[in-house]
Symmetry: C2
Subunit: 138 residues, 2 copies
DNA sequence: CGGCATCCCTGCTGATACTG
DNA sequence: CAGTATCAGCAGGGATGCCG
């Protein structure tokens, strides 16, 4: 691996400039966004502030452990803001930071692309699977 | 889970419209893109057609197994085209399909976002880690 | 309510060896 | 060269139980 912490390569290969697996910010952010739950959390929080339990209920399928872990990661990256209200019973609110909001906005482009192409992808898969099926039986 | 195969929710929650974990195209494509090697392969192939070994050498760190798996997935999704030349020794060329090229283009926005914000994220992390460190020692 | 600690299990990944 | 097949190791994630 070339650049441990930053991606600005002294490397002549431009593609390697922004991704050579580890130590690259792109990789880390991408992993965060593509995380099973992060994207959904971001999408939910973009709409409005939510409490822990509300998120848990909305997402439906997430374990409390993973929701906590996900929120901590997002908080650490400065994408989500966590507010603890010193009341009893405890109340913790989560909201997107401005940076988190811009990330969500950026992600929408990818979501839009997926929606535009999901039919073509499904078709490509079907075709591929059929080709492979024939190849095996032949 | 609500919509097994498609994401057009009858659900009133709009966020759930495009992601409720499984069965959603967005999730699958996102997983593909965020895959450890897929993004790099796409980036490399966007520049020019490459052979298997060339990709292997360029990526540096990928096992031949994972490169194969990655390429098969991308091929199945119709993002990469595979050309087998019936010669000896074998020669297999990989190139981006038009759809793959548009995906790469879309991804660039996310990469750009990451580059724009990586300093802020690093700062957020440092601040968070320090806060936590103090909290534990206090 | 919100969260952390523990245990455990699945599956992804890498290493290795073999084939057309 | 370009794979496929097999095996083993480890991390991710769920389930459970306990605290503030």
């Amino acid at each position: 691996m070339k650049s441990p912490s930053h991606c600005t390569g002294t490397d002549d290969d431009q593609a390697r400039q922004w991704d050579t697996r580890e130590g690259c910010e792109v990789r880390q952010i991408l992993d965060r966004v593509a995380d099973k739950w992060s994207l959904l959390v971001i999408a939910l929080l973009d709409r409005r502030t939510l409490r822990f339990t509300e998120l848990r209920r909305e997402i439906d399928g997430v374990s409390q452990r993973m929701l906590t872990v996900t929120l901590r990661q997002l908080e650490r990256d400065g994408l989500v803001h966590r507010t603890v209200h010193p009341v009893v019973p405890p109340r913790v609110d989560y909201r997107l930071t401005p940076m988190g909001a811009t990330l969500h906005h950026t992600i929408q482009a990818l979501v839009a692309w997926t929606e535009d192409h999901q039919d073509k992808i499904a078709a490509a898969r079907a075709e591929y699977d059929q080709r492979e099926g024939e190849a095996r039986s032949a």
